[in-house]
């Protein structure tokens, strides 16, 4: 009952948000809003990928941004060399998926524990960061694409209209594309969860031993969901590359930490929650950055405190806690109103 209510709520929220984002916002036509909107949407796709593999698959990747950044860089390099941005995007997402599959093979077939898994994924992301960060020199050029070290690749190509390689998309089109990609990824996640594969993944998260004893090779299913998560993070990375340009910050420690925060704040075990959490926290960061609080509004400081607080004090995440509180208030209100008809004695009991 409450589950279906919530999932209906989630759908409604997504539909409303998509409508607002795709119809209302572009009418304002403000360029900064468009660019920020594309960035937020790219990050939201990243958050979605972690929401899927952690919340449903129980696979806690501390380094989910590795796939985000990798896809971004592959897109930029392939785009600069091939000239065909659509193909480059495809290659980028495929590489992110392939990389996730390779890493997943090592982790799941090694049957490493959750603690190890988190650390290994984060380490992979940080090594990518260190590697890219130090590729400033001339020698680090792949074909027509200089890797650019800590500066990133400012010449990251922007998507072109399909079949018209000279027609670069405008910021509002990139914006629409990013938000559209977010919605599509969300729907894909919903679909996958509803399949036999998705149900098995959830069962494995609930009890891997029992799933094995029922005939599910848990390694295979974890690898599958992890690879899908890598691909989705890759879509986010491509969207990000189009919104700004690729740079090593895409897979640094802060980005990885932020994804975790978005998912925790938004609520583990939901898909819409982390997306909302992402938008909320990014807006908060932007707002904090614009304040002059004598330094005390440092985004790291605030995010760190929020994360620690959420883990220590709220086991369910901010949004589900708020939602739960709302539901309870709603139930109480309904009981109060319905009480005279159905439950006189009950209502009497309530009063001291």
């Amino acid at each position: 009952m409450t589950v279906s209510l919530r999932s209906a709520l989630g759908f409604a929220a997504i539909a409303a948000a998509a409508f607002y984002a795709l119809v209302v916002v572009p009418q304002g036509g403000d360029l900064t809003t468009m660019i920020n909107g594309s960035i937020y949407a790219s990050y939201a796709i990243l958050a979605l990928s972690l929401a899927l593999i952690w919340g449903y698959g129980g696979v806690l990747s501390f380094g989910q941004a590795a796939f985000f950044g990798l896809a971004g860089y592959v897109y930029a390099v392939a785009g600069l060399n091939l000239g065909d941005t659509a193909l480059a995007a495809l290659i980028a997402v495929a590489s992110a998926a392939a990389f996730a599959a390779l890493l997943g093979y090592f982790m799941f077939w090694g049957r490493v524990s959750d603690v190890y898994l988190g650390v290994i994924t984060l380490t992979v992301s940080l090594i990518l960061y260190r590697f890219i960060n130090q590729t400033a020199g001339e020698e680090w050029t792949i074909g027509a694409a200089p890797l650019g070290g800590f500066n990133g690749i400012p010449s990251t190509p922007i998507m072109t209209a399909l079949g018209k390689p000279d027609e670069t998309l405008m910021p509002e089109q990139i914006y629409a594309l990013s938000v559209g990609a977010l919605v599509v990824c969300y729907l894909i996640c919903r679909l996958v969860i509803a399949t036999r594969f998705g149900r098995a993944v959830v069962a494995i998260r609930e009890n891997p031993v029992r799933a094995e004893l029922l005939g599910y090779d848990t390694r295979f299913y974890k690898l599958g969901i992890f690879t899908l998560g890598g691909a989705i993070a890759g879509v986010g990375g491509v969207a990000f590359a189009n919104s700004v340009f690729v740079s090593p910050t895409m897979f640094n420690l802060q980005t990885n930490g932020q994804v975790i925060i978005w998912v925790i704040v938004g609520g583990l075990g939901t898909l819409a929650g982390p997306v909302i959490g992402c938008f909320a926290m990014l807006s908060l960061s932007t707002w904090l950055g614009s304040l002059d609080g004598g330094g005390w509004t440092d985004p790291n400081l605030v995010m760190g405190v929020v994360l620690t607080f959420c883990v220590v004090a709220l086991r369910k995440g901010l949004l589900p806690t708020a939602l739960g509180l709302g539901e309870r208030l709603f139930a109480v209100a309904r009981e109060r109103m319905g009480a005279p008809k159905l439950g006189e004695p009950r209502a009497a009991e309530d009063r001291p």
Partner: protein
């Protein structure tokens, strides 16, 4: 595949944990449709023996064959697909799923959707828990969770069913019903049951194997084994009914 090969043949199974020898060379042959009870004091190695059969543990040495085919070293999921169903000693269920979802996970592993649906319904019927289909497993009472786990095992339709202390935590009525159920299961599968309750064992078992300190102490028809002086010694001071 030779017709002569028994359903299960375990030979000289040994399991050591560091210095502890949990199972020290056990052989057992179980035929099609056999119902066998496995008894023995706590720590005798019964659960460890089951874990080696189901692939949760890889034996230190020894051989296990299912219809003549070696299964040592296969992952538990492969062994499950080859027709071995296990109810573990501590109930192992999907707390976050509903009863029906849990049983469907069991049937979906092997069957096409329409068939899976029917098989799941049947499993709930056999456990007499269709009314719990929509209930979340984590919120059920202990005995009911045991039934849910049994329903999952039954829904797999295994050829060999291993039940590790299935009656633990059940009420008298539930235990009686469980006895009927196990006898019924043995019509279509082979069943090995670990139990402590002697009255229960007398009711259901034809063959009994007694474990002690990782070894087979005695094996034979129920009445005969229970009359054995050594077996009584092992159980002395325990609930020897």
């Amino acid at each position: 595949m030779t017709a002569a090969a028994p359903l299960l043949e375990a030979r000289d199974l040994v399991m050591r944990f560091g210095d502890v020898t949990a199972v020290g060379g056990v052989s057992m042959t179980v035929g099609e449709g056999e119902l066998r009870c496995l008894i023995g004091p706590n720590g005798a190695g019964k659960s460890t023996f089951f874990k080696m059969l189901s692939g949760q543990l890889r034996p230190t040495s020894g051989a296990v064959a299912l219809r003549g085919r070696s299964i040592v070293g296969l992952p538990a999921s492969r062994i499950a697909r080859l027709g071995v169903g296990v109810k573990t000693q501590t109930p192992s269920v999907f707390d976050g799923l509903t009863v029906m979802e849990s049983v469907r996970i069991a049937t979906d592993a092997l069957l096409p959707p329409q068939l899976a649906r029917r098989r799941a319904d049947e499993a709930l019927e056999r456990m007499r828990i269709p009314h719990l289909a929509g209930a979340t497993v984590g919120l059920l009472a202990h005995g009911q969770r045991q039934l849910v786990e049994l329903a999952m095992v039954v829904a797999q339709a295994p050829d060999l069913i291993l039940l590790d202390e299935p009656a633990a935590g059940m009420t008298g009525v539930e235990v009686d019903r469980l006895g009927d159920l196990i006898v019924e299961l043995a019509r279509s599968s082979s069943v090995i049951v670990v139990e402590h309750d002697m009255a229960f064992i007398r009711r259901i078992a034809r063959t009994v194997t007694v474990f002690n300190r990782g070894q087979v102490l005695a094996e034979g028809p129920a009445a005969e084994v229970m009359a054995d002086a050594r077996v009584r010694d092992v159980y002395l001071g325990k609930d020897a009914a």
